[in-house]
Symmetry: D2
Subunit: 413 residues, 4 copies
């Protein structure tokens, strides 16, 4: 339903033309420094109208904190945030309303609820994501302050314009497609791992496409402009890295870290795919090459030499960079006429009015980051519950050494 998370719980509300949209964030740790500006920063990155490439609607999206903080600190009580809708009129009723928009949610919402908002978008409107981004921004404040966790997403492809092989996530690296050739090591390049390790939001935001490789970014713009000129649309993929996540997060068996992440990402409007680490490419690489050997890190802990796994093994984080990719389909709303049918089956032609984003992928970047932050936060709190409980038990001295953690109980907490 409209709630995500078990301990850090986010509940969003709002349609495109109601009084406001927003969220209640329950379970935020008390004593965290938090101001409306901390939230606004990410909301502004989500906002339309940031460049020529996006829809020129100028939503101001000023966030108000309704509860849960005082004197700039969280109280541990629910944090409610809201953003007023500028345009609160019910939708003007017109002929196009007799058509369910193809590949949009008009038809399915009506099938589900028997009623739908006058503005077709309703709850499937992109404005719903405002609550998510706010909730993610709050989670990030905590994760950064307490654990130095960093989350950075970027655009890895727009249509068939991909990052170059050396900087691309494995599935975007061209394959020879020779069934009997197992030499695929280069699908996970050192340059890509370096990009994951170092890329910042500041770098990403330097280009309106939010692609970290300027020459590719330029081609992406061309691709988007081509779609725009053709009254058409184009999709793309967002790749995201999460750094400094402690090992041990993820709840076997159904709430594996990657399962929660996949759930979170596929709940974002227009997403069609998710892959973590080597992803679909990892299905083609033999185990002997795909396995990540262990090695002692400088601090004495274990790391892995490669990172095909994407930072999770057995559904649990291993301390390496977590990276994943999300696919966004081409937007359903396009201005060119489409042959389709009305609700009652009458065939006809529909052309969307108004102006629309030909490509939502750059704006999806902060939404992906937000949902990632919410997942990490929820998993971290779940692990806290257990690790603190275990730390109060006597040491496991009677067990074989290979069954217990090498370090002292106290260290683990």
């Amino acid at each position: 339903m409209s709630t995500f998370g078990h301990i850090y719980r986010v509940t969003t509300y709002g349609e495109s033309h109601c009084a406001s949209v927003g969220a209640i964030i329950d379970g935020c740790p008390p004593g965290l420094k938090l101001s409306a500006e901390d939230i606004q920063k990410q909301l502004s990155r989500r906002r339309p109208g940031q460049s020529d490439l996006t829809t020129p609607r100028n939503e101001k999206d000023l966030v108000q904190i309704q509860s849960g903080t005082e004197f700039g600190f969280t109280l541990g009580t629910p944090i409610a945030i809201s953003v007023k809708n500028e345009d609160q009129r019910p939708h003007d009723y017109s002929e196009t309303d007799f058509y369910p928009r193809p590949s949009h949610a008009d038809y399915t919402y009506l099938e589900k609820y028997g009623i739908k908002a006058s503005s077709g978008g309703g709850r499937s409107s992109a404005r719903e994501t405002i609550g998510r981004v706010a909730a993610g921004a709050i989670a990030e404040e905590y994760l950064r302050t307490a654990h130095r966790i960093e989350i950075v997403a970027f655009v890895s492809s727009v249509g068939k314009v991909h990052l170059p092989a050396a900087l691309a996530p494995p599935s975007l690296v061209p394959s020879d497609q020779q069934e009997d050739n197992d030499e695929v090591d280069d699908a996970l390049s050192p340059e890509f791992r370096e990009l994951l390790a170092t890329v910042t939001r500041e770098q990403i935001d330097q280009h309106p496409t939010r692609c970290p490789h300027p020459p590719t970014a330029k081609r992406m713009v061309e691709r988007i402009v081509r779609a725009k000129n053709a009254q058409d649309s184009i999709g793309g993929t967002v790749t995201c890295v999460i750094r400094n996540v402690p090992s041990g997060l993820g709840e076997p068996v159904f709430d594996k870290f990657e399962a929660a992440l996949a759930h979170a990402m596929l709940s974002i409007p227009a997403t069609k795919g998710f892959e973590i680490g080597s992803g679909f490419r990892g299905t083609e690489v033999p185990g002997s090459k795909h396995n990540d050997p262990f090695v002692r890190r400088s601090d004495g802990s274990l790391g892995t030499v490669t990172n095909w796994s994407g930072g999770v093994q057995g559904g649990i984080t291993n301390g390496e960079d977590i990276y994943f990719r999300v696919g966004f389909k081409s937007p359903a709303t396009i201005s060119q006429p489409q042959q389709t049918a009305q609700y009652d089956g009458t065939p006809g032609s529909l052309a969307a009015r108004g102006r629309h984003d030909p490509c939502v992928v750059p704006r999806a970047v902060p939404i992906v980051e937000a949902m990632a932050a919410i997942v990490v936060m929820d998993m971290l709190l779940a692990q806290n519950a257990r690790s603190k409980a275990s730390s109060l038990l006597p040491p496991l001295t009677t067990l074989p050494p290979t069954m217990r953690h090498g370090r002292d109980q106290k260290d683990r907490e």
Copy 2:
């Protein structure tokens, strides 16, 4: 944690060497005909040792229903099922136990819990999936009886051996990779849609690889044998179709149908990716081609001409075939020696003992089907709660016709 679903709730238990593995299934509709044989059938499809391609361990996996049925019918109370473990001895302690197996869960389990089962697999063992398959088989009995819903999964690729383009899901259809060429209609072929519409489990099971295209199946065998001979392993993808799902299932915004499905699939061991409908390929197809136009079906309801969406729009089912693809990485356990490190960081070489599946994808087929069935069941019950509630309200006669369902309230129920 170990529970999946909100109304149809499945809780599993069990490691590889404990007394038994099993599950409690809560929320199954009462009055459903159900016997142990109905469950056993799918469990046997999951079982290892079904062909030369899989591990020769002969687990019998006989299921026992502990509760929740009488005289062959479900009572509405929790159905507990269990399968005894043949080998209940704790693992023999050996030198290899000082090594966390690369890309396995040994290291992360120990990081998470501070203790782990003597047999490294523990809860990440494939035996955990027995409870899922049983729970899915029960859900399927209901879905088939009450709604004629059919769920069929099959192997769509092993390593780089893919189904031929005409029969392949969009992401497996070779792409020209020309940035400025939008002619991609053929990525969703009529033959593939026909396969989705007609393929049966009987057909699938005719070949040990569970690939529905015999020439490809033959090449898959060769690929697996090559991995086996090289003491190596290989991954692959499973494609699944769900037919006859009513429109209206899926709970916006966080529990969209595809989000729950992605969660379910990524919770299966060894999965690295999920895509629904056009998936990642859909990120490259312009909106004008990717949109699914509506058309009146023979029964008067609306259908779509194409089905790039994969049966969901806005997170809600639209009545079309639901299809998705899941990527399984190459198994981590291989017999050839691997350079890695012990828990304490000491470098060394590890070779797995025993015999292992070089490719788990054929056996993953019934697990994918099971998790799909659980998702559909849970979503169906959630929609029942609402649709029955709405059916008792007066008709919405005062609303504009485009805001309310064309059919009478009573029909909707």
Copy 3:
């Protein structure tokens, strides 16, 4: 945490001095007629300042619907409601703030969160209940429209002033306390059952104490005035009846109808006890007298002759009137000085400033009704999910007649 319910889910937010208080109500059936006035009516009954007996603070509590409705109907999407706080200043810092108020939440909130709102009340403030009352009012609209369910609460005691024996719930009927005398039939009088069957909110609201028996109401006023004059406070009990609830609601085993109800009631501030039906008195009545014999009702269904059970048996509603009683302790905030200690343990005397309710029980009436409505709504939706699912299965003709419902499957739905 701050969410109640599984399918009809209510999440509240807000402290006493933040920007607003409110709630998100998720899972409300679509197509329900709903206006702000429907909600306001119950909020106004909760509001302080309704009579001389309550605190003279004049909170206006005007509710705003933020989302989830259009043209006066619910959309099935989350309904957010908010009420602005008139006084949004952080609390003036004073000497009394060094004292945790006895039997208030100051100390425990600080122990729990390590930080607390400057106004001691914070989230334990009575203003938090605004969101509950709104959510309950919405649930009631549905329950009344679709099932003619009626919920009426009233004050059954203030201090030692009780309703007279004939009109009192069993535990308030004086007992002889003779261990060997089992004649206790009169603890459940016909007059009390008649009161339960007929009492209305209009009747209840005719007296500021919300006691349905005017002579007792008069004595309650005297008792409250005595407390007020003594700068003291007094508690009381609220009895509530729910009429026309269908049989079959309640989810064994942990979510029995009465368990959910007890949870809901004990979550209201200042509550110390809950009993359903005969309650604690039922522990003293022998089974032969306490059992409710069955009898055929005029419509052919089964009813019970007596109703010691209070409308639930085995955790499931049986179609009879559901009645229960909730105990509210005397308010902790009193104006007379109290000997106590500061946070650091320094002994001293604390006198609360401002004016306070000497008795909250009359204002608790709509809160009890609201939480009851939320419980019924949630349980009704849960049962819908199952009953609709079962109605699609073939009839249970092969079972012994005593194992299956006498009526046809179709009727059950």
Copy 4:
């Protein structure tokens, strides 16, 4: 449904005549010493046939741990436990089956599910509580080991036979019922508080009634024997104390500690009432007497002089003894004939066959303890999640001293 708890989650299964009954306990801290004997001890206290007062059925109830432990320690994975049913035959079909037993669950189960187990009890059977007692025993092992928490329940009344005033919980202390007399201090006697502080299970178990006051225990036996001889039954109340619970447990606002406790207790079969601390008696005591003044404890922390609150304030534990009382109605199953009606409404007389417990209260003692342990465990883990998260934030030095905890951040963890 059949799951209780959010982080420490207990899911039970089983009817009276199925293969086994049991539970899955998910979320138990890893590294806890645990053997089947630890569980068996409490199960044996629950077992029927322990004295002449209880039913002579001799259920052996031997528990088997199916998963989740190795070498006597918990692994952090789900612990499944099961107890075989000795009598697994479906119920013999007889004339009495046409009668729903008065005040039993036969009628409501059939209304709910449309089908019921051949043995009327089904899931409402007392055997269902085996899973709860096991889950509670495991929780207790942790609570005792890590926090020295002690939970002791005892019988405080059987019918009208009550503990003497000095040892009784407030609601069982006789009241003068003088409306204008506020002298009620003696309703919470020092002797009763001493009893709460010191009573042990060993003391309780010395008498078959589990009443800690031998003269009263003797009269309770007489009362039960009288019921037995009259082919009748009698109810009673269980009082429970939880000692050494840390302050800060309980999740405002809906999951207040007492709300979760009330939920837990009212989910036990045959319960009709719950009260915490002063309970219903606290509704009659003026605030000036009912408030618990604070005082510095010897360790420097704050305690309360009295404990009318019962260890919770604002829904959060304050470190004082938690005490509460649960009311169990007289058992519905009695051997004397009862005038009632068949399912189809035909009037007639029903006499239960077999032998039945005339009073279940002594056997309810370990069930109350178990549910209490589960609640404390779940709340403790929830608080761990938050307190560990907060401990990693910088100190709140900029806030007014009355808004932040006096002790250092680190101490709080």
